[in-house]
Subunit: 421 residues, 4 copies
């Protein structure tokens, strides 16, 4: 994003609108929640909604206002530590696992913090004749950061509600739209791709995170890519065939984990009176067999793939297959009689585990400055997921997007896409 | 408590008044707290205020209404598990360490639960012509149970607030009454008591917990009993003399604990810019040197006693010295020229660690029925504290009261009374 | 032990004989073990035989030779830390849990250390014309300490072998003397004792540990004391009646422990092809139903007592009943027609859990000097066991002996004696 | 390895010789160790020498003799479980962390097991006219497996000795050859390589592990590769500049680890009286500043690279640079006037952390049959190291060899090779 003088008024106006819309959306997400709901932290990995609302605000205060506005007065000096997530360059952080143990500041006070910072940002933008690239970049980063946290808010609320025996629902319990019916599930097949040198990663022209850059060439061997995600019913068959009892399917660390936790089903599945249910944002619902299986660990995804004599795709195969599909769809729409293979469920259902570890691309450079701790320091022990999910803001999706989690985690909306050699 | 027909109307009226007053006091305790405050659980040992409000209500619903009122409809069947603390006889319990992870039922809903149960109890009592001993006993037990939880609510709020870097205050921050000024601290001396056979424990005539009964005889050797509690300033001198670095003062398990936790001061003490502060319900306050030291583990109390070439009293010595003092005070007030020794700070400041393990008295019998899990099953690994504290409801105190905690715990208001042979 | 000039030669000769005999017995205990066996440490609570052999030697080197012999040269200066168990007054200690991780010094070298120290001790005694009380006391303490470690060596070897799937045997596997046959088991009954003031503890005249002193008076209520220990067959009936599944029998901490460890039988019991076996120093043996149950935690003993509507005796009741029995036996042997009740299995089978916490007697004084850490610092969190066991050297037994372990421990030879009010 | 009939006698003879030599070398490694030394297991990651000697023997018994020799009688049926490392396909395994708790079988007995199995293998080979490819492959795998364990034996002995305060030495303490003197350390520089498509992995013709196959093409970007390893002195400078206190150098998981363990220097470094020492197989030695730094975690290697504004190479860069160097050296030796850059210390000093996660190559196929658990199931959470080390048998080295460890581990001989874009 680069603002030249000609277009500057429209661009600032557009930026202001975008800022308004995205910031408002975060607040909309808690419209149906109480202050008590917004304080929940049911495990160390999740954060209270209130914390998300404050931290995303802290981001603008810390990386924009404090740095660019000499006369800016921080809302509360204690927030520097309280709402710092992991930026050692900024200073100390309040203990992550204890975020749910803070009743003060109250939700009301955090919403006041948001209004205070929003006013300051908008005042700053309104006073500005020329938005420098540096400032535009930090705002863009802040808005993308906020959208990431919007997805986290939904993931975290789901987990926080899931351990309550009352099974609270975030959306209307009686209006649970089944996205995929059994008749809509196409037969699983594998679309072939030939060996070639492909472009991977994001170009510099549009917004992307540092971990998606630079765009570079990768040599891929021939592979085949599943036309759709694995469904709940298929995963249930794996379970019923003894999948969790047979070490031959499992990575060694995965086998150790399920033996330690005694896990025998995905995170949110419950067997009640011999029927399977799944906890959802609509509360506890009968397991929808045709829907993609979600909230799966990497170990589970990998075990399922072994059970099928298949494997998970690499992130490069995923990006290439997905880009190819979109191109084909574009061509198809311009052609009367298409035979292009159809690859479905790419970004709208769930993030898809790849067999690629989360590592820097060749030539990777972290963002300059204090915000540079953003992505690079997590490049160990995690695996890449590609796609996007129901919880991701639609305009936050990119085919080059690299999501990443530890192999044992499942509270994000993760699912299974298979591949074969 | 026994209701004979003659006095029954007054007695029921009095019981209703008492019920009203005690139940109302619990709600009064949260008058200045938000719903968010009432949900805090900053460690596994403490519970949210909301949980205390619900659990004490569950007690009356479970042990009185459900058992005595055939037509009683429970408020919410899920509460049977959610608000059961530890009664295996009643059934499953929701995980203790996760009580803070419940935003539903809301505080509002819990207050509704209280009103519902209170109405049912009062209706039951109003309809009753004769309150049987069994029913009177269970109500009395429930009210004492509620008073215990009132003390727990204050202990738990203090701990929950203490880990918040904003150091919230429960009472007015600028109105922290210092109970004891330096000039009021009498010189520490030891009042002698001679060898004899004494009565220990509560008689059957008045209310007491099962663990205080039966009254029985104990042979005690001559001992001396400190005339007052140890003050913050005295404990500070122990610290400054290297008390936490010198193993000779410490029990082996205590030395292991402070080496594991790296503890070098009492739980709520903070050294800020070389000045000592103490976290209190009035927020962070300068350490009041003349006040009794509080929130002390048994290990710390024991180490301090070793440092003084003294020891902690047994619970029998404590009970005898305290009872003796009261008798003396009574006699004194009737005599012109008293020389009776003065023992101060018995029940109003803090619970006092004794060197007695929490064990059954000879002939101990648990309460009959499902409420019988009340005290007996905790008779291992804990030490007895005697006295009472600032957080204890005044009409809940008894000289025979046996409080008990694990030696490493300090979030209750515990302090140090010395004794010598 | 007090050496007056008259009797000094005989007394020194007798002390030298006693030293020889006890020190040699420790070495005899490993006669059938390999150097590899002597290095085992299968859990943190146990120590390698090699360590015991070295530590008991270190005791004489540290508390006798180094202090009393100006010209004494230590065998190896590194041993000061390596073989210090827990004496902070002496200095640092090598990590207890890592004792099994030391292959050097070798067993051979440790046996050399023993010879070196024994020579120095005997030379010292031979040169001595008058053994002062202080020196006689420290030698006596050292010999009793060594005898304690002889019992520990057998306990620890048993545990160390027990986790080896080959079930090694320390004694001849085919020569396992069953101590008690079914026909020898008398009917369980309870011998009544009346209320009185009794003497408890050891007199100053004979050797005893500091924790057994001073002798003092205790008031006891009437009680009844089981005539024998609980047998394996009786404990098995408790298990088969669902004892480990029923929380009503268990102390709260005990219930938590068996739920965490999933324990459903005593430590050394194994069910193989539907038959019960017990691991013993003779290897794996069919469970002998008539023998006393052993290797029982305090929690198990307490649960069993609840199941029987009985309780465990206090240590005062135990000492009194045992002393009484001996007196009676003495009288009986002098009377033609005795009706005195018979109490069996007091010291020869297993230590017997009491319901008394391990706490100081009134007027308790630790041993003076650096050896004074001997007993006092363990007076928290442990329970007293009385009696003695098959592993205890016979001349190490005393009716006033106070053994102590944590309630969850079972690798010592502990069993169940019941009592009733 | 493929045995055609023509060459079969020589080939069998050669295989027998090779079997003899490699098996004997394992036993030679413990020539200076006692049975006690061979039983040590100082942490869960390491195994006793005795266990290695037994497990490598179990490998031949299980995968060769039991499968190919109908009449073969196993040495001891209990060994099937005791010495199974991780092959779920074979059955249960004895707990890994408790290998040091087995004194039986004795070292003597394990050496007998080796002789028994070796005799059976050699008898089998001598009787064989034609060694099938399947059998040749399993023997070859067994011999490579044994060589891997020879390296592990040295790594493990080093760790086991390192925690003994006596710092035992495996080699002569007074004959510690310093491999690299300060004058021999060339200036650190970076050799450039251009972008290209390279071949990675092992061809099928020679022996390699399944994880090195198939050979495949990889596109690499231009990179620069350090001419030598990082020396102890350079790493010390990083430490002295505050490297362990500055989060900006560290991966997030690495920063968490050093804060949890309070680590401030490499595993085997000791500061004694202000001088740095390093524990080695020659005992404790003054830190040799010119020698490559070793026993470094991935987190430490990564932090050091950040500190230098460099990075770790990928495993593809490593393999390519190493292969290139060898080619150049070959050409150089045939050319009068070479200018080829020199890359040193490739395989003889230490394994070199790469920034590549341990993942399957495209088209990876595990070994067929029960031995197929060999490598694939560890392909999560670990990083690849390339090269070889002083402990690796020389004829076990290959440029395509992929070693792998968890990022926090350091007991293998790991070091730092830098790269740059």
């Amino acid at each position: 994003m680069n603002f030249t003088s000609n277009a500057k008024y429209e661009e600032i106006a557009s930026l202001i609108n975008r800022y308004h819309a995205i910031r408002q959306h975060s607040v909309n997400l808690i419209a149906e929640l109480s202050a008590e709901d917004c304080q929940l932290q049911a495990m160390a990995d999740v954060s209270p909604s209130k914390w998300h609302l404050a931290h995303t605000t802290w981001f603008f205060e810390t990386f924009l206002l404090t740095q660019q506005q000499a006369q800016y007065q921080v809302f509360d000096s204690a927030f520097k530590v309280l709402f710092n997530s992991y930026y050692n360059g900024i200073g100390d952080q309040y203990s992550r696992a204890s975020r749910g143990a803070l009743s003060r500041p109250s939700l009301e006070s955090v919403l006041g913090y948001r209004r205070y910072v929003d006013n300051a940002v908008l005042e700053f933008l309104n006073q500005t004749i020329h938005v420098s690239k540096e400032i535009a970049d930090i705002i863009e980063l802040g808005l993308n950061h906020e959208q990431q946290h919007q997805e986290l808010m939904l993931m975290d609320i789901k987990y926080n509600f899931s351990i309550n025996p009352l099974f609270p629902h975030y959306y209307d319990k009686n209006n649970n739209p089944v996205a995929v019916s059994q008749s809509q599930v196409s037969e699983l097949n594998f679309v072939p791709f030939s060996q070639q040198i492909i472009d991977i990663g994001a170009a510099d022209s549009d917004f992307s995170y540092d971990n998606e850059r630079p765009k570079h060439q990768v040599f891929i061997q021939p592979f085949r890519f599943a036309n759709r995600l694995i469904a709940n019913g298929e995963y249930l068959a794996f379970m019923q065939s003894g999948g969790y009892q047979n070490p031959e399917y499992w990575l060694s660390d995965g086998w150790a984990q399920i033996n330690k936790t005694h896990q025998t089903a995905p995170l949110y599945w419950h067997k009640i009176n011999n029927e399977w249910f799944e906890f959802t944002l609509h509360g506890l619902q009968p397991l929808a067999l045709a829907e993609p299986v979600t909230h799966i660990t990497f170990y589970e995804a990998s075990a399922y793939a072994h059970y099928c004599n298949a494997r998970l795709p690499t992130e490069f195969e995923w990006e290439y297959a997905a880009a190819h599909t979109l191109e084909d769809q574009f061509k198809q729409s311009n052609s009367a009689n298409s035979t292009a293979p159809v690859i479905e469920q790419l970004t709208e259902h769930c993030w898809q585990w790849t067999n690629s570890a989360y590592l820097p691309y060749p030539g990777f450079k972290p963002i300059a400055g204090v915000a540079g701790e953003y992505n690079g320091k997590f490049m160990a022990n995690q695996m890449v997921l590609r796609g996007g999910c129901k919880f991701t803001p639609k305009n936050h999706l990119r085919l080059t997007y690299r999501n990443f989690y530890y192999p044992h985690q499942a509270w994000m909306r993760s699912g299974i896409r298979l591949a074969k050699d």
